[in-house]
Symmetry: C2
Subunit: 322 residues, 2 copies
């Protein structure tokens, strides 16, 4: 099959547009769409220092490659990468290696931080010691560390590799579970002191396009799934969206458009809360104590007694477990 | 298996509540939930005359039976049934017979109106003559006639048999197709001159519960599908919701809750348009000419030339087709 734009062989059939694309036209189209999303949501403007969350998985590697391609030559825009090593035996070390090497190739300053050093405990140890599911610890601490590190690096934005498939799964999942508050959290946030604005430049490209972009550019594709990954309900939604998109190409975009249409409503239903400073660590939080410090206390990593009236940390500690 | 509330044998396992129910407790629960929906949405209050749209299918038959049970003894509430015979050979006659006989048994005044007499043409003839899909003609003319007849009967509300499955399919379908305007149309409407407020008393009971209610009460179950029914995308959504509900019982309620949470937003995004009178037939419409009259003109049933500047009916007529 020939490319719809030139005489070269097509490597990709873009079902939702009905076009066959050769390598060159696929890459052009991919970059054009990422650029359009960035512009539409004003993700990156002038004089910015963008911190990239680079786990070493396919999405974050493509994110680094794409942003480097789009902004590498710009003098007023700086890219800096952060990799969080959660401490997952067997799974994380190879991706950390990939992250380091790709950032080196792209001349992006790379920072490696670990749960062990920053939080005081590996994820593997948390899972062994605590009672929550692994994703609860990982999600909270990863976000916490990424924000803290990005701020320390004076970044104006924190970019993550979420693609169209990730985003639409989350949107539909929250809608199906009637979790409108969580749906509202997907609304791009405004600047708040201490909190680095998160951006998702790949939110309008399909996951399979991210994979193809990586393949064409010879980027290392790490496809192992996290051993702790166990979200069966998300898998059900993912499979449905896959089938639905297959029958009715472009429907993932429709889900995104539905969500976007509801953004003003979601903003008025859940206005951005004015953040406080965590009484323990000083990081931004809507509560007295941030979730990371709460989890630390649960895990017995933090045994502070804060003299704040309504917050009895001591009682929340599982001293019996240690 | 025994009933969760008494020593009788259970006939139904209500997955979302985890209860086994005998006939008696199933019926109690069913009626209680219908009553709760009616109250929550103020569907039926004092001194009302409720017109029921009774096609003769299982949902509308159960609707008639339930409302008769709940309000049959009330002196200030009157029920009256309307059956629309669209003129679908083979399919409609048996359901018309069922509708008539059930209304007779329930002592509900019954009115039969037909496309042939009111519009001037059977649905079968429209499909043969016109170019649109059958559901377009049927949907527009059925709504049109039901509203007109209900108004002529001085009804304060028009009740239809939509159940939880129907409603959640429509909600999710519109969300997946990014048709937020159509989603907004599901918001219960306010009183407007000429337009009878539509209510859906069965919107919070599952389709399978409607079937069980009919079986227990020995109501005639017409399960034939309309020969014109061909909505593959809705079938895909229906199957997904079925599977999702099976794995995660109660999720159809979650979809309903999501929709309800968004109602204030949808209302502010699509405020109720002040209706005009159709220049041709005088029925309420947001446009100059109502959809029913537009379709009639297309089908060559109506050949009026209305002296309204911006509406050249004549040109819309397909005179060549007759």
């Amino acid at each position: 099959m020939k490319c719809s734009h030139c005489s070269r062989d097509a490597v990709y059939f873009q079902r939702h547009s009905g076009r066959h694309l050769c390598k060159k036209h696929f890459l052009n189209d991919f970059l054009k769409r990422v650029k359009r999303s960035i512009k539409k949501y004003r993700m990156i403007e002038r004089e910015e220092r963008i911190a990239l969350a680079v786990s070493g998985g396919k999405d974050s590697i493509v994110l680094a490659h794409v942003l480097s391609k789009l902004y590498g030559e710009r003098r007023d825009i700086e890219l800096v990468a952060i990799t969080v090593d959660e401490g997952i035996k067997g799974y994380r070390p190879p991706t950390v290696k990939i992250a380091k090497s790709v950032c080196k190739d792209l001349s992006i300053e790379h920072h490696l931080i670990s749960f062990k050093r920053e939080i005081g405990m590996n994820l593997d140890e948390m899972v062994e010691r605590g009672e929550r599911n692994p994703c609860s610890y990982c999600g909270v601490f990863r976000k916490y560390l990424l924000n803290k590190k990005a701020r320390e690096l004076s970044a104006s934005k924190l970019a993550t590799g979420h693609n169209l498939d990730d985003e639409t799964q989350t949107i539909l999942l929250n809608f199906l579970q009637s979790d409108i508050e969580r749906l509202a959290r997907l609304v791009p946030s405004k600047v708040q002191e201490g909190l680095i604005v998160r951006i998702k430049p790949l939110r309008e490209v399909y996951e399979k396009e991210v994979v193809l972009y990586a393949l064409i550019n010879n980027l290392p594709l790490m496809v192992d799934e996290c051993p702790y990954s166990r979200t069966p309900v998300r898998a059900v939604v993912r499979d449905f969206l896959y089938e639905f998109e297959k029958r009715y190409p472009g429907r993932k975009y429709s889900v995104m458009r539905s969500f976007e249409a509801l953004i003003p409503c979601l903003q008025s239903m859940y206005p951005q809360i004015r953040l406080k400073r965590c009484k323990v660590c000083g990081e931004p939080t809507p509560k007295q104590v941030c979730q990371a410090c709460e989890l630390k206390m649960e895990l017995g990593i933090l045994g502070l007694h804060v003299s704040d009236g309504d917050y009895a940390y001591k009682s929340r500690q599982k001293s019996s477990k240690n």
